[in-house]
Symmetry: C2
Subunit: 252 residues, 2 copies
């Protein structure tokens, strides 16, 4: 008998507003919908509710686009105010083409539009930015969970949906981590036949993000989930471990 | 209450050999470990067992490297016979650097070493190639599952572990699909706040592959899993839908 696990959507989280205590609301949802926290649970929360609670919202009507934003906006066929916000979140432009703007954020994530997003925000002139420090957001939620259920070691992942080269469709990935090693290194270990695995690192946090993503659909208003029964390596953890250093990335 | 689902590892599949009837063995494992097939189940099978059953194995001692393979082998610090096999699976070289060789396979997958892999094969001079037609491999398994459980509509996904640009660690992705739409198009739909989603396609098959990947570890000898309780759109499906056309890919 091999292992099995389950994923439980947390649909009872209310609409979030700036200043709401998201960690407490996550605790309530875990209590109400997952029978409390179990040891080894991974609580996964989408970026959008974190950003709302942390007031990472910008009203585009309040933004004055720079000359560069105006010029890019014409080139890319985008709203100049939106581009100004995207540029404020950008460390480096990776690729640009008609209506596609892929950048590296100040965190080091490479994604379209620096993660700035209009969807699932009540006012279509208000956009949501990524959390300033998604690891810290994850840590705050984990601290609250641990305070309520001190016996249950858990991990927390903050996710967003990113596109990727070569393959169609977005996938849910980890942008904040607390309580687990996000990349499991198999390097130097042997497979069951004795073959030395020379370069197998597994992005466990992104697998967990994707598993949770299957119940956190964009239309379902389910902004969080509990993944129960997956083995992981406990560690403080950081989503920075998921970012490939520039010198080892052939696609910069 | 939001949705929930479960993932059940199929650890009872035996070691596979060329000519084995994998679809029948999958049926047996689903019967033994998952209580039979339920409606809406997605059965996920790793490429390695498919390749073994389909005799997609090459003994490197039988390979004569070409002059080009010898030259590349010196450049990349790889075994010339292994490189010869990789080149036979390659349509186009995407990137090469010290010990990194990323190609487009004849199927159109972009991955390291054309998916040719030494791990989890009993003889370390024998390598496994990707299935010739992973969609057909998935279809054959699905046909057998449907014959045994005609009331239970199901889908089958064949997976492999691929690296990706920008982010560390491999993730499990779909390379063969039968019975579901692998990319769900949200384009033209509205989110719960009424905002028109202009470019949101979700790679549901890759989410399912990753979810299954959490029980199909490289050390666990668990080569398959059942994902139970996830909504998907029934369709014949093909993993080709997951491949971004060259003209829309900024990272060729």
């Amino acid at each position: 008998m091999a292992g099995s696990y389950s994923v439980i959507g947390l649909g009872s989280l209310p609409e979030l507003h700036p200043g709401d205590n998201l960690p407490s609301l996550v605790v309530d949802a875990v209590a109400a919908e997952a029978g409390g926290l179990h040891g080894g649970d991974v609580v996964v929360v989408t970026q959008k509710v974190v950003s709302k609670a942390e007031a990472r919202l910008v009203d585009l009507r309040s933004v004055t686009p720079s000359a560069f934003a105006l010029s890019l906006a014409a080139e890319l066929d985008k709203d100049p105010a939106l581009l100004e916000v995207i540029l404020s979140e950008t460390r480096r432009i990776v690729r640009m083409d008609h209506n596609v703007f892929i950048v590296e954020t100040h965190h080091g994530f490479i994604c379209a539009n620096a993660g700035v997003d209009r969807s699932n925000v009540p006012d279509d002139q208000v956009v949501a930015l990524l959390p300033v420090d998604p690891d810290a957001s994850a840590r705050a939620i984990r601290t609250k969970l641990t305070a309520r259920w001190p016996e249950a070691a858990c991990a927390v992942i903050i996710t967003d949906s990113f596109g990727r080269p070569w393959r169609e469709g977005i996938t849910e990935v980890a942008i904040g981590v607390s309580g687990l090693l996000p990349v499991e290194t198999m390097r130097g270990q042997r497979d069951p036949y004795g073959y030395l695995l020379s370069s197998t690192d597994i992005a466990i946090a992104d697998h967990l993000a994707a598993a949770a993503g299957l119940v956190m659909g964009k239309f379902d208003m389910v902004p969080a989930a509990v993944v129960r029964g997956v083995r992981f390596t406990p560690a403080e953890g950081t989503a920075q471990a998921l970012l490939r250093p520039a010198e080892r990335d052939l696609f910069r």
